[in-house]
């Protein structure tokens, strides 16, 4: 096993879907860390997005650019938080976690791919940006 350095990571920056949508319009890249079957059901639309499932992130994190703002996202913001911390561990500075995730993104009326019906399983309690 490789020699591993322990790092005291700062608290991750977290942004709500509404702020995320603005940052994406301004040039940020969205990294969706959900698994391919989830992305096939419903995905983020209207922005530049790449899919790197959390299960593949250790092998593929170098695909994430360092020289632009990056927002990590998933269904509710837990897996993407882990991904955000992992990229911070790898020295990324321009990363933020979207919380909660695609369910709220769709509720806000932001573009999606696939079917909105699949969002029904991702209902969450609203606490973001003043609630629903």
């Amino acid at each position: 096993m490789n020699e591993t350095v322990k790092k005291d990571l700062a608290e991750a920056r977290e942004v709500c879907p509404t702020t995320s949508e603005r940052l994406l319009r301004e040039g940020a890249l969205l990294v969706d860390v959900r698994e391919p079957d989830e992305v096939a059901q419903v995905g983020f639309g209207g922005c530049e997005v790449i899919n790197i499932p959390l299960s593949e992130l250790e092998a593929r994190w170098r695909e994430v650019p360092r020289d632009r703002d990056v927002i990590l996202a998933c269904a509710i913001g837990e897996r993407s938080l882990k991904a955000t911390y992992f990229l911070m561990y790898q020295g990324y500075e321009r990363v933020a976690n979207m919380r909660p995730g695609i369910g709220r993104w769709a509720k806000r009326g932001f573009p999606i791919t696939g079917s909105a019906e699949n969002i029904a399983t991702m209902e969450e309690v609203s606490t973001c940006c003043g609630g629903t």
């Binding site: 591993t4 350095v5 911390y85």
Partner: protein
């Protein structure tokens, strides 16, 4: 000897803690076990797959319950 077990509290993590504790007692080694369950701290070791095991500050294992032989080798 200080051993940290990295994991969010899942069954495999608990099994790993129990295994190391049992082997340490069987061999009479003086081992201090510490569970690290906070995600930020776990990833702070570069670990994505849990359970992870840290011995003497080094990550020696990730992603599964270790074998008894592995634990024995860590305890020296």
């Amino acid at each position: 000897m200080e051993i940290k077990i990295l994991g969010p509290g899942c069954a495999k993590c608990k099994t790993t803690v129990d295994l190391i504790d049992r082997v340490a007692k069987e061999t009479g080694k003086d081992v201090t076990l510490e569970k690290v369950e906070d995600m930020r701290q776990i990833v702070g070791y570069g670990v994505m797959s849990t359970p992870g095991v840290v011995v003497g500050g080094k990550v020696v294992h990730t992603g599964s319950v270790p074998t008894r032989d592995q634990v024995l080798s860590w305890l020296g």
